[in-house]
Every structure is written in structure tokens, then in C-alpha cells.
């Protein structure tokens, strides 16, 4: 019997488990393969919904499903957090004391948004990265906000969903426009990056929109601390701004189990091969999604596309077959820019984002993701995604050629980039 253990039942972990269960249905039924999915929670959130909860007043329950309703037959869901991953013993220990031996391991433990890493941030700021309940607090604060300065700050990078702070600023503008009090509200956007959006081509689209909407942008602002009593936010560089309401993207790090198992880098992310998704130097172990060190966007789309590669590679390894696949770094992050318009930040390792205009079609495509997500987790939409995303993987021996639109040089190891 070949045992696959997947740690983390979020986006990537659930999808990988379902893909394996679907592709190995007969083997699982015949007792030749087992797929165990180890999770912390019974409830599975659709995290992009946090923006709607925070800025459009959606109720958190709308974006949550029971994990047991999302997994396919053949997946054993174990709600018992992993406390130790042991590569040399090839096993995962759980909180209740179980030891789960594995032949193949998939680490999908995500990233943790952690306001406690910046002095005063937990007390002084609200955020929409630590879950539905905290996002709801943003919405509640907006209800009683009559006027003053709202600061949206990026307090650490990398963070989940690179466009989300920009979206927050745009959605705030829209919220107060609709309410008719925009004139009484100053919106200030603090970013550590040199421009409003890190990727230059995307910034070309975003910057004029910030100007047009009267959103003040402060670049090179690396958050040092927050003084909740004085309502002030300070940068390492020595700047300070007053706020009446602070909404900040907290610094992120890898999951505790990665840190406690001693298998992560200094931020708790797992060193991972950016093509095959194998954990560097470890036989039979893979890592996907937000948990990896790979500097592409921490996004669900990335976790999804990497899951396809990992499921394929595990089955190839089981069959001792050649033909491993490599992920090509494809990202596709939708950004809502207000007033029913959206853009997509799309790129691969070798092709940075290109110029584009905001469109209503892209806005509605983004809005439909919430419905698509639950179906996509089951694996039923792969043909549609293959058409939509284009090439996202290639055979391990064959190197991808840069697309004609590439403007940045191609590094010898393939470019590292976070867009």
C-alpha cells in the first residue's frame, strides 16, 4: 500500500487530495493506495471573500463550507492538527498523538497573517487577512466612520493576495462614494514598494486610478510600529502618519508546524523546487501554495495550478514512470479597482505582467470565482481552467521559452518573481 499524507486542508491540500482520489479511484478502492488529508478545522473558508465581508458587508457564513462536503470519496479527512513533520522517519505526528507514516507527503499548510509581529499593530489596526470575523470588524468600523483619515498599510511582505491592499483602498473609495461622504474621508495608502503596485506594468494601470480617486499614496514606507493611543503609524525610515482608522495587511509567516519541525527558512516557509514542487533535498515530499519559499504570488490560483503538478508527479513516482511535470510560475490574481471594473495580474516565471485596461468583464469574472471555487476544489473544472490559464506546466526535461511579451531578462535558473 502506498500512503499519501497531505498536511493542510485549505485550498491546495483539499484540491490535491481530490485530484489524487479521482485519478487513483481504483487503486484506493483496491487498498493499494491511501490518501489522508490532515486538517486543523472542520470549516473551510473561501479567503478572497474577506474583501466582500470587510468592504461590502457580506456575512462571513456565505464564504464557508464544511470540509467534509468538499472532499471526494476515497479521501480520509483527519481533523487533528499536525504537530511534527519528520522527513527522516517519513511520518507526520498529530496533536492527539497519532503517527501517520507516508510514502508521499504534500505540505499545504499555507501562510499565517500575524499582527503580533509589529508593535502596536494588533491593538491599533483592523485587517481582512486573519479571517471572516476580523474582516467583519472592518465592516462594522466603516458603519460608524463619519469622517477623517483612513490609512491602508502593507505591514509586511510577502502577504496573501498581492492585489488585496490596493483593492481595499479602491473598495473604501467606492464605499464612501456610495454613502455620499467621500468628501469627508481621506484615504492614504502606505506601501513599502517603490510604486503603488510592485509590478511596474500593473502600477501603470493602478497609479492614475489612485490619483483620479484622490487616494494618497506613500511609497517606501516599511512599517515599524503603531501607537494605538496616539493613532499614529511609524516607518523604519522615520516617517509617521496620523490615522482615525487603520486597516493593515499584517506580516505573514509559515505555519507553526513548519517552524516547530525545523523544516522551514527563517520565516517558516518550506524550501521548494519551483518546477517540480519537491521539497528541496527530500525524497517523496512536496510542498504547494502559500507554504513554499517560491517567490510567486501567495494566491489560490497558484496553489491550484501547483496541485495539478504535484498530483501528476506523485502518480508518476508511484508508477516509477518518467514524465514529471514542472509548474511554469503562472499567476493570475484578479484585482477589483472599484466601480465594477477589474484587472488580472497575470505572469509566469519568464513573462512579467503586460499592459492592460480595467474592464467590466474582468470584474464579473472575479466575482464569479466564489461560486467556481467550491466546484473547482472537487476537480470538475480542470478542462475549463486549462483553456483559461493556457500553459501552466511542462514536462520536466523541456525548458519553457519566454513568451514574446516578456520584457525582463531571463535568469539562468528561471526568474524568481512575485507579482
Amino acid at each position: 500500500m502506498k500512503r499519501v499524507v497531505i498536511v493542510g486542508s485549505g485550498d491546495g491540500g483539499t484540491f490535491t487530495a481530490n485530484l489524487l482520489a479521482s485519478k487513483l479511484r481504483k487503486e484506493i478502492k483496491g487498498g493499494l493506495v491511501s490518501v489522508q488529508l490532515v486538517g486543523e478545522h472542520l470549516l473551510h473558508p473561501f479567503q478572497p471573500g474577506n474583501l466582500d465581508i470587510a468592504f461590502k458587508g457580506a456575512v462571513p457564513d456565505k464564504y464557508v463550507r464544511a470540509e467534509t462536503d468538499l472532499i471526494r470519496k476515497g479521501v480520509e479527512f483527519i481533523k487533528d492538527p499536525a504537530v511534527k513533520i519528520d522527513f527522516s522517519a517519513r511520518s507526520v505526528a498529530t496533536k492527539s498523538g497519532r503517527t501517520l507514516p507516508y510514502d508521499y507527503l504534500v505540505i499545504a499548510t499555507g501562510a499565517v497573517a500575524d499582527p503580533s509581529k509589529i508593535q502596536g499593530l494588533a491593538e491599533g489596526a483592523l485587517n481582512f487577512h486573519t479571517g471572516g470575523a476580523d474582516s467583519r470588524r472592518v465592516w462594522e468600523a466603516l458603519q460608524s466612520f463619519e469622517g477623517g483619515t483612513i490609512v491602508v498599510a502593507i505591514a509586511g511582505t510577502p502577504h496573501k493576495c498581492p492585489p488585496s491592499p490596493n483593492e481595499a483602498a479602491f473598495m473604501l473609495d467606492e464605499f464612501f462614494q456610495k454613502r455620499g461622504t467621500r468628501g469627508k474621508v481621506k484615504i492614504r495608502f502606505l506601501t513599502p514598494y517603490p510604486r503603488p503596485y510592485p509590478a511596474e506594468k500593473v502600477s501603470h494601470v493602478v497609479e492614475p486610478m489612485f490619483q483620479k480617486k484622490g487616494i494618497d499614496v506613500v511609497t517606501f514606507f516599511n512599517v515599524d510600529s503603531v501607537d494605538p493611543a496616539k493613532h499614529k503609524i511609524y516607518s523604519l525610515e522615520g516617517e509617521a502618519f496620523d490615522y482615525d482608522l487603520l486597516i493593515a495587511v499584517p506580516p505573514h509567516h509559515g505555519a507553526d508546524v513548519i517552524v516547530n519541525s525545523g523544516i522551514g527558512d527563517q520565516d517558516g516557509y518550506v524550501p521548494t523546487d519551483k518546477g517540480t514542487m519537491r521539497v528541496v533535498g527530500q525524497e517523496g515530499a512536496y510542498c504547494i501554495g502559500d507554504a513554499t519559499t517560491i517567490p510567486v504570488s501567495k494566491s489560490g490560483v497558484v496553489a491550484h495550478l501547483q496541485s495539478v503538478v504535484v498530483a501528476h508527479n506523485i502518480i508518476a513516482e508511484m508508477n516509477r514512470a518518467k514524465g514529471l511535470l514542472e509548474y511554469n510560475g503562472r499567476i493570475n490574481c484578479p484585482m477589483e479597482v472599484g466601480n465594477h471594473k477589474g484587472i488580472f495580474v497575470s505572469a509566469t516565471y519568464t513573462s512579467p505582467p503586460v499592459d492592460q485596461s480595467p474592464s467590466t468583464v474582468k470584474y464579473y469574472m472575479k466575482r464569479s470565482f466564489a461560486m467556481i471555487y467550491w466546484r473547482a476544489l472537487g476537480g470538475g473544472l480542470e478542462r475549463v481552467f486549462d483553456v483559461f490559464f493556457g500553459q501552466t506546466r511542462f514536462p520536466a526535461t523541456e525548458k519553457e521559452e519566454p513568451e514574446k511579451t516578456a520584457v525582463a531578462p531571463v535568469a539562468s535558473q528561471g526568474g524568481k518573481r512575485e507579482a
Binding site: 510577502p158 511609497t219 524568481k416
Partner: protein, 81 residues
């Protein structure tokens, strides 16, 4: 300048925007006044981005040297809360 000043080399070669600048900021966050950070970058945007950051923040741009296929950008931390 303190006598315990550190010199740190950050290798961001092969990394595209915002990789190099975020690698620099990570080092800046843990640096002391007087420390020197050397950033190695292949991304052509890194030179302009780091220059703009030093100009805005008041940190010192010690120099930019074009090595074979990459730039060595040296910064001294002279401004930090």
C-alpha cells in the same frame, strides 16, 4: 558609526521586482545604524529602486558597481528609527 557594524551580502540574483527591494528591506529591518548591506541583483529595476529609496529615506547609497551580469548595490544604514 558603531564599532560593531556589520556587513551583509544579500544575493537577489535571478529575482525580479519586487524581489531585490524586498530582500533589501528584510535586511534593513534587522540592521543597526552603520551596518552595510550589499545587494546583488540581476533585475535592471533594482538600481533605480534602491537609489530612489536611499534618496527618500536618507540612507546612504555607497555605490553601484556593474559586475559581470549583475549589479552590486551597496547601502549604508544611516537612517532608521
Amino acid at each position: 558609526m558603531s564599532t560593531t557594524e556589520q556587513r551583509k551580502v544579500i544575493d537577489s540574483r535571478g529575482s525580479f521586482c519586487p524581489g531585490p527591494i524586498t530582500d533589501l528591506f528584510k535586511a534593513y529591518r534587522s540592521a543597526q545604524l552603520g551596518d552595510v548591506i550589499e545587494l546583488l541583483a540581476t533585475d535592471p529595476a533594482a538600481k533605480a529602486d534602491v537609489t530612489a529609496w536611499t534618496q527618500k529615506s536618507g540612507n546612504e547609497l555607497v555605490g553601484i558597481v556593474d559586475e559581470q551580469g549583475y549589479a552590486r548595490i551597496t547601502v549604508r544604514v544611516t537612517k532608521k528609527r
